[in-house]
């Protein structure tokens, strides 16, 4: 299936198999992942490092950690949903979730105070996470700017950043990241410490940690694994990772928070969804109805079909029927778009109801913590 359909093939990475071979990334065993999100079992998560360790924990019901970060910026859209769905999936599979809010990163890049960024993180991200099914009470949620309300934990976490910095040479850093900007360095060492710190004594000691990332984040992962092996006194288990392909934007280019017409936000109204899909979603159909009936459409590049395939039509039979009918010309572009609009709108309607409940929950959670 993956060889047939790859809406991301023409995006940043052209050859995922080549990338895997080149960087020693293993295939992701997506067929083994029970009850996994639609995009996962349809191959959007394509690669991994040391994932067998995590798979073994899941099978044996042993403890492991899944860690991911969020950057509080702009609207929560379907690209973010893909990350959220993975968090929720691994939580259901028994992972302890570490959820970091990269507020210092955001503070550095945007003209907002830490207080404002905290508000965005809560209202845009956490509310959506909960509405999508995350049990926030069972997560270790933290802000980079203040790791914990337990000073022992905070001290251990920040201390680790300092120790990591002293394990990396300038040449090594330059080879990985291209230059030696101090801000970039501190970001990178903080990311390494984020991934490793669940294994500190103050956080329960060594254990498998999974970090699901885009392929562009692999340099961080490799650096973290290298540094971990140098810090022998900590007995770190080398962290595991998975790699997902990026969601394409509506017009076929990059999905970007700064361009609202490149994504569907989880707060979009049915009208906005309809407008965006019909007006902006790149079509694999032909120029005219006559030509389309004769030649058929190309689901491999049709964004409306991709949205159905990877996210909004989990039923295998139904989605294959749509694919075949589109290819044969029985289904017109507008008809596929309408199916996508209906499915997405139905999802959003339910989701937005859940958001209202989630909002109350998150406010309660944050005021009590």
């Amino acid at each position: 299936m993956e060889d047939q359909i790859d809406p991301w093939k023409n995006f940043d990475v052209k050859d995922y198999d080549g990338i895997c071979k080149q960087f020693g990334i293993e295939k992701f065993p997506y067929r083994e992942m029970k009850d996994s999100p639609t995009f996962m079992r349809r191959g959007l998560v394509f690669g991994s490092r040391d994932f067998s360790r995590v798979l073994s924990c899941i099978k044996k019901k042993e403890k492991f950690v899944m860690l991911t970060g969020l950057m509080p910026s702009g609207k929560f859209h379907i690209g973010h949903k893909m990350v959220a769905d993975q968090i929720i999936y691994y939580q259901n599979m028994g992972a302890d979730i570490y959820l970091l809010v990269a507020d210092i990163e955001a503070y550095n890049m945007r003209d907002k105070s830490l207080e404002e960024l905290r508000k965005i993180a809560v209202e845009e991200y956490l509310v959506n996470y909960i509405a999508l099914g995350l049990n926030l009470k069972k997560c270790d949620l933290y802000f980079q700017s203040s790791r914990s309300e337990d000073a022992k934990k905070s001290n251990a976490y920040y201390r680790l950043i300092g120790l990591v910095a002293r394990k990396v040479t300038a040449n090594e850093f330059k080879a990985i990241y291209g230059d030696l900007h101090p801000g970039k360095m501190i970001s990178s060492f903080t990311e390494v410490a984020d991934i490793l710190h669940p294994q500190l004594a103050e956080f329960g000691g060594p254990k498998p940690v999974l970090v699901p990332v885009g392929i562009d984040q692999d340099p961080h992962i490799k650096l973290t694994r290298d540094v971990a092996s140098r810090m022998k006194e900590f007995n770190f288990v080398p962290p595991s990772s998975t790699y997902h392909k990026f969601m394409k934007g509506l017009s076929g280019g990059k999905m970007s928070s700064s361009d609202p017409y490149s994504y569907i936000a989880l707060t979009d109204t049915p009208e906005e969804v309809k407008h965006k899909i019909f007006k902006y979603a790149f079509s694999g159909g032909q120029d005219s109805v006559e030509k389309h009936r004769k030649l058929g459409g190309n689901p491999d590049v049709d964004i409306a079909f991709q949205l159905l395939y990877y996210m909004f039509e989990p039923d295998d039979k139904k989605v294959e029927k749509i694919r075949e009918d589109y290819k044969s010309g029985d289904l017109l572009t507008g008809e596929v778009k309408q199916i996508a609009v209906d499915k997405i709108s139905a999802f959003l309607k339910e989701h937005q109801k859940k958001r209202e409940l989630a909002r109350k929950q998150v406010e309660k959670f944050l005021s009590s913590s």
Copy 2:
């Protein structure tokens, strides 16, 4: 007086006036410093930045902070005493003392655990500080590896390191420090945050902060003052600094923790003091008694005399009499050395008694904090 006697003139820095002019360092108003340590009122502290701000606080009895660090390594010697005497002096002048133990730095350079380094800091440094007169209870003593037992304070301190890193460019760093080693960077940004953090809201907000340092530390001070001016949201008062000359080692070279014959340790016995002064202290005397009686000695290069002048003979009349008698040849090298040995031994005898009392106090302090 300063122009006459400068045991440090031939050490690292040859021309302190030139250095001051070159780097825009102001003279230190040592004649205005009431009840100051002998070395201070005799000109060993030679330069300053923005010191008038601190002087005004002292005169008006307004709050200010004095911050200094200690690196737990080896024996506590008379070079360290000079720093301790400054801390105690400013504490008596009304300063809130911030005392940082650079355990992460030491950890990085030495083959010792953080636990061992903590022990050295306590037994070698804190015990001596207290015995010399420091009121440790009134100090904010902290370890780099765990800023505070109050998570709000710890988070604010470590957050500041991250924010500082993002305010410095690679070119700027390279211009100051010569290269871009990640460990060096994190050390430097930690030092900047150390100096600035007493002004964070969590530590009581903006206020004058004084950092007494050796001239070799001025790059840190300048960087800190630059960074402070860029972080407008914090309203930092530019930190003040003073600069002292370095204590020369016994043989006239560098005083070094790794060479026990270059210093007098505050735990040395009278026999060790006698042995070190008579055997190793560089003499300004002549080759023979006859020649010495005729030509006299040179107190400007005589280490035994320097020890008396800057530290162990606070009485102005007495020390000037020794100087004149040595210059005239009335006092022989051995006689000046014996005066120094007697004075130092008497001081150490008293000090070592105080150490025993101090030890109990520091153990009590640390177990209660």
